[in-house]
């Protein structure tokens, strides 16, 4: 049986395809999945072939007879499928976490494979990007009774556990990866040091691969594995490797010249050695440690930097799914216990990387993935239930110095002053301004070289005659922070008090000793400095605690709800991801790189502060490694449950209303990780592989083996509850397992605003190792329709408190499928709707051909189109780089939809990045599609009449000049009667029930695309309810890849 199409909006994004009259011979990367289960999940369904899925707590044993036999069986079936596409270059064969292969295929080959019953899916490979310590102390790991202590101390935390990092590679000279210690117990590579790590765990089957600038000697008993995967990347002729890259497990060159460092950062955060001195900007910030400092690290490099003129470095870094799946497969067979994946993607459960993680999880491997950096918008990535999806939050470490005023007052601010500044006279920047200087500029302290908007000619604002030898107060804003201290230095000043503008304090190395103080303190200091004979001194920085409450969910952290399945909550939990100090790669020029390759470069290691959900995920990966060490038989679902039910609430962020508030489950998930609580959670919510299978069957996306039944998303036994639509009432079932050593009686309570939430039974007594089931019945009372409500379920016992977040909403009187896709010239399709009233239903229907028009768009200046606000302005003004088409939408329009396809651009290889935006008649942005590449869709159902503007944005064109494209359009009204499109309606419908509708069409032409719409209305009131779209592609469609949101690089603007 074929996999069934996905539902609703996701399918709308995924399923469309360009109407190409002629076959396309260009080979593109795909991953072909076969129908049989991969080794990690096979449970022995085929007679004569025993199960290969490992038991909980057991490792996958590749040399076992069962695995060998089943692998042979899979290989034979794969060969017969590959024979159909004998000319296609195959880059990988998969059998452990995915059954299939990666290959370069033509359109005809894709069609040939799709027609086979033994092929489950053919999925295009699209490039993804990485989602770009003291945190161990912030998390309480080093407390006397903390998780490290429980595991035998810092020197044993992570012992025997292997953390696999799928990322950009590793810089092996960083002491975070050393396996020896010096006389002071500090990690060292010096052979005179004492070996601190013995041989890798006996279960370890991985290896150390050599390559450019990397030899087997780069690995040791700490960095036990290092491999790289680039077959998919190398098979794409449009990508040429950037000079900063190393074709080896080595992380590429960083700083301002390359894109490396990410993999070194994530791996050292998860499991880097303890006691490593971190040096940032030449300042020693003291010892840092990974979360699981004794765990072994295995690096799987899958991300590669290639030449791309649109980036200042001349390069861009991407990670291809074919390479990622190969890495995940290798990691599972190598015997890693935990995988960290700080790379984007995963907007559907059928995404191949997500599927690989499903099977990795079935084999007992815990997966931590980043939630994405596209927040606070509803963009959460990695939405599958079998992995932990991690949001980023702040921590409270701050590097601080004191400003000691001459009158004895003391103020503390952020600073990296390494040498105390003795008492010196003070002056305000306003007092110190050159005569005739601009008043604003005087406050902000511009250097001799700074230019900006409204300041076209660089000129100094401080008067050297007044500043010499003094400490100057300067206010933050407009020019770079570092430009202000530069201005003070240029004028002969000796120090700066930087007064914040409300954005938040930053500790960094300035041109003169600088303390960055908050707005309130700054006003007091400035008032003092304006007085008689003011003086001040500054102290050397220490690591202190910020006055700002932490943790707070970062604004860039992608928020829920889960856009694929509203019946499951994402993200799962939050962990530190702002200002994380860990190892990175050095900035080097080509000559220095050559020395690394030829082995003559002196070892160098560097650290840097990064932020991103990429940094949050390895915190969870490292702590999961600790929990695995403590509880080796726990399943990945149990580890995730322990982390979620013990999590604590974050502090409010700056968003004060709406669904994107950081404190809500869509921001923080279950909350901020609390590792010490997770050691002993009392109860866990476990999930067996069969439950995931039932869940996939319930979604209609798993064609195989649904004999065990199906479950709705909200009934998968997750440590969170989300119900996408409570129409009437919904019963949610959960099962808990007592993982403590004593029986305990729990009293459950549930609360959700706008709903009655009734838990049954009212008391649960659970013996050690036993399970108990409870239900939560949600019934809407006064919750507004289509508005998410928030609450939680708490099980309070005598020793443990188990809390899970709960969210739900209720829809309008109709709920109907959003999209039904049928590739036939004539068909009838019945579908079910949910109804919230008793009475009759009307339907307005129409269908028409989707037309395409040729056009060309110029390359835009990126800064004019890189945010929704910028795009709105660009569309309104029709600036260069944006092609605007006005479209009249008549009254009573059912749907207005526009699409772009990568195949319709000049290159057709994914390198052209066009975006699509829609302005309503008032000139406001009402829809925006800004994916990587040029597969874009904007669609409005029941739009108001008027003249809309469709804007095609030339975000990146390979030739830097322009790109041709075809705009696919359909404005469907009731006058459009293609295929005699019609919808059959029930005689009447009932409140709180369902009804069946059917749509039919016939006689459509082949080789085209059509869009139909059925808009439902309440019969008596005419109130417009849901609209179901029908996408009818009679052109033998080829699947599109998963849309990947363009990565927003999270970096400090410096201002």
């Amino acid at each position: 049986m074929k996999m069934r199409p996905l539902s609703a909006a996701v399918a709308l994004l995924l399923a469309s395809i360009v109407a190409s009259a002629q076959a396309d011979d260009l080979r593109r990367p795909y991953i072909v999945q076969l129908a049989d289960k991969p080794v990690a999940s096979y449970e022995g369904d085929i007679a004569g072939l025993p199960a290969t899925k490992p038991e909980p707590g057991q490792r996958l044993e590749l040399s076992s007879n069962a695995v060998v036999q089943y692998s042979d069986y899979l290989a034979q079936k794969q060969e017969s499928v590959k024979a159909v596409v004998a000319n296609a270059p195959v880059s990988y064969n998969y059998s452990v976490v995915l059954n299939g292969f990666a290959a370069m295929l033509t359109d005809d080959e894709v069609r040939a494979l799709q027609a086979r019953t033994d092929v489950a899916s053919v999925t295009p490979d699209t490039p993804r990007s990485v989602d770009t310590t003291y945190t161990s102390h912030f998390l309480g790991l080093d407390k006397e009774d903390g998780l490290w202590a429980k595991l035998g101390g810092r020197d044993a935390a992570g012992e025997g556990v292997v953390v696999g990092i799928v990322d950009t590679g590793v810089w092996p000279e960083n002491p975070a990866y050393a396996d020896r210690v010096d006389g002071n117990g500090k990690p060292t590579f010096d052979n005179s040091g004492t070996l601190a790590y013995d041989a890798p765990p006996s279960t370890w089957k991985g290896n150390c691969v050599s390559g450019e600038g990397f030899t087997t000697a780069s690995c040791n008993n700490k960095l036990i594995g290092a491999q790289y995967f680039d077959a998919t990347f190398k098979s794409l002729p449009q990508y040429t490797t950037h000079w900063s890259e190393f074709r080896s497990p080595r992380d590429s060159i960083g700083g301002n010249l390359g894109h490396g460092g990410h993999g070194t950062h994530t791996s050292s955060t998860a499991a880097g050695n303890a006691g490593v001195e971190s040096i940032v900007s030449g300042v020693n910030l003291g010892p840092v440690s990974g979360m699981a400092p004794r765990a072994r690290i295995a690096m799987y490099k899958v991300c590669w930097t290639y030449n791309d003129v649109t980036d200042p470095t001349g390069g861009k870094n991407s990670c291809f799914s074919g390479d990622s799946v190969a890495a995940i497969e290798k990691a599972v067979t190598d015997g890693v216990n935990v995988i960290n994946f700080s790379i984007g993607g995963g907007s559907t459960v059928t995404d191949i990387v997500e599927q690989a993680f499903l099977h990795a999880s079935n084999a007992g491997v815990f997966v931590s993935a980043s939630a994405g950096n596209d927040g606070p918008a509803n963009t959460v990535a990695h939405i599958s239930p079998w992995q932990a999806t991690v949001a980023a939050s702040t921590h409270n470490r701050e590097l601080q110095s004191d400003v000691l005023l001459g009158d004895g007052r003391k103020f503390t601010g952020a600073s990296m002053i390494t040498t105390p500044l003795p008492s010196a006279p003070m002056i305000t920047s306003e007092q110190a301004a050159l005569s005739g200087a601009d008043a604003t500029a005087a406050t902000l302290c511009y250097s001799k070289s700074w230019v900006g908007t409204g300041w076209p000619v660089a000129k100094q604002t401080l008067d050297p005659a007044k500043v010499a030898g003094k400490i100057v107060t300067c206010t933050r804003g407009t020019n770079d922070r570092l430009d202000k201290s530069k201005a003070v230095a240029e004028a002969g000043g000796v120090g700066m008090v930087e007064i914040d503008n409300g954005v938040g304090l930053v500790a960094e190395v300035h041109a003169v000793p600088t303390v960055h103080v908050n707005v309130t303190d700054g006003a007091l200091i400035k008032a003092y400095a304006a007085g008689q004979n003011p003086t001040a001194a500054m102290t050397k920085f220490v690591t202190g605690t910020s006055a700002v409450k932490a943790p707070v969910v970062a604004s860039f952290s992608s928020r829920g709800p889960n856009r694929y399945d509203g019946n499951q909550l994402k993200p799962d939990l939050a962990a530190p991801g702002v200002d994380i100090i860990a190892g990175v790669t050095p900035e080097m020029n080509a000559a220095q790189r050559a020395n690394v390759v030829n082995g003559t470069a002196a070892p160098v290691s560097v650290w840097a502060s990064y932020q991103g959900t990429s940094m949050a995920a390895p915190h969870v990966a490292g702590i999961a490694a600790l929990l695995h060490q403590q509880h080796p038989t726990w399943t990945p679902a149990m580890i995730k449950s322990a982390l979620m039910t013990t999590a604590t609430d974050t502090f409010p962020d700056a968003i004060t209303s709406g669904d994107t508030r950081g404190v809500l489950p869509f921001g923080q998930g279950a909350g901020h990780i609390n590792p010490n609580g997770a050691m002993d959670p009392g109860l866990v919510f476990d999930i067996a592989p069969l439950d995931y299978q039932r869940y996939l069957c319930g979604l209609g996306v798993s064609g195989a083996n649904c004999s065990a039944g199906q479950i709705a998303g909200y009934n998968l036994n997750l440590p969170s509850i989300s119900v996408g639509n409570v129409l009437g009432s919904t019963v949610v079932t959960r099962k808990v397992t007592n993982v403590s050593s004593e029986a305990e009686t729990y009293t459950p309570t549930a609360a959700l605003t706008g709903y009655s939430a009734v838990v049954s039974p009212t008391s649960l007594t659970v013996a050690p190792g036993a399970t108990a089931t409870f239900t939560v019945t949600l019934t809407r009372t006064n919750a507004a329709f289509n508005t998410w409500q928030y609450g939680s379920v708490t099980l309070k016992g005598s020793k443990h408190t188990v809390r899970i977040p709960m969210v739900a909403q209720s829809g309008t009187p109709f709920i109907a499928p959003g999209l039904i896709s049928v590739p036939k010239t004539a068909a009838t399709k019945s579908y079910s709707i949910q109804t919230g009233f008793t009475g009759t239903v009307k339907a307005l229907t129409g269908m028409k051909e989707i037309t395409r028009s040729d056009d060309v768009v110029a390359q835009a200046v990126v800064s004019t189109v890189n945010s929704t606000a910028a795009v709105q302005t660009a569309c309104r003004n029709a600036i260069a780089g944006v092609k605007v088409t006005s479209v009249t939408v008549p009254a009573g329009t059912l749907v207005a939809q526009w699409e772009l396809f990568d195949r319709d651009t000049d290159a057709g290889t994914g390198q052209t990045d066009l975006d699509l935006a829609l302005l309503n008649p008032a000139g406001n942005l009402v829809a925006y599609s800004g994916n990587n590449g040029s597969n874009e869709l904007v669609s409005l159902t029941a739009p108001a009449a008027g003249t809309y503007k469709v804007c095609v944005v030339g975000y990146a064109t390979p030739n830097k000049v322009s790109s041709n494209y075809k705009l696919s359009s359909a404005v469907v009204t009731t006058a459009d009667k293609a295929g005699n499109f019609r919808v059959g309606l029930p005689s009447q419908v009932y409140a709180g029930s369902t009804a069946t509708l059917a749509a039919g069409w016939s006689g459509l032409a082949t080789g085209k695309r059509f869009l139909g719409a059925a808009q439902l209305q309440q019969g008596t009131t005419g109130v417009i309810g849901a609209t179901t779209l029908f996408q009818v592609e009679t052109n033998n469609p080829i699947p599109l890849g998963e849309p990947v949101q363009r990565t927003v690089v999270q970096q400090d603007s410096g201002i």
Partner: protein, 256 residues
Amino acid sequence: MIRTSHSVPAQRGSLQKFLGAALLAAAAAAAPAQAGVITFDDPNNYGPGMVLGGDLYQEDGYAIGFFANVLGDGIGDLVGMMYDGEGASCDASSQICPANKSGIYFGALNDSYLDMVSVATPGFKIKSFDAGFIGSYSSLSSYPNPVGLVRLLGYKVGGGTVTQDFWFDNTTQAKNFQLNTFNTSGAFANTVLSEVAIYGFACNTVNTSCQAFATDRGQFGIDNIVTTDVPEPATAAIVGLGLLGVAAARRRKTKA
């Protein structure tokens, strides 16, 4: 388990009313005395697609009308689908339809009923049929077990009615959504009928009471209705031809 059934009996004679009582009376005609099977597979008669209230299907000497149990009989409303046996016409994201047979089966939707008469003989008996529940959620866990039932309401040749219920109550829930064979038994199996109405009940998730004509969720697939004709040689086969003419005209109207 208490199975409380609440139902509104189908209004007798929707088919007869529609066809004209005189025509049906005349249809008490001479015909072969052999068992019939309604397979819904006759391509000349009907293909896959929507079935609207008032549509007619004829096969093997029997006529079946499809109606909603509302004022006006639901003429022109969606009362069913002729489904292909693999269920491809059923939207898997929002429904579960039987998909375990080849060929076409009839799906009774939205609390509709089938009204069946013999064109060729004045009376017949129902021996067996295949049926399975059609669900209006994609997830099996959304349903209670038993999920519903099909009721056959027989009108005796001599007057009066007889009913038999057929429960979808297999231990494995998935099996209730497949077409499986049900045999009539007891009094129902032995009664000669002039007409039979077939309709579905959906059981309530909360308290397992089952309802017909009250939720739009009484839905089922039905196929291979095996009958035994009761021989009673008599009049005009020509009347049967006339009826076919009416049916064909009706079909043209609704399928246009």
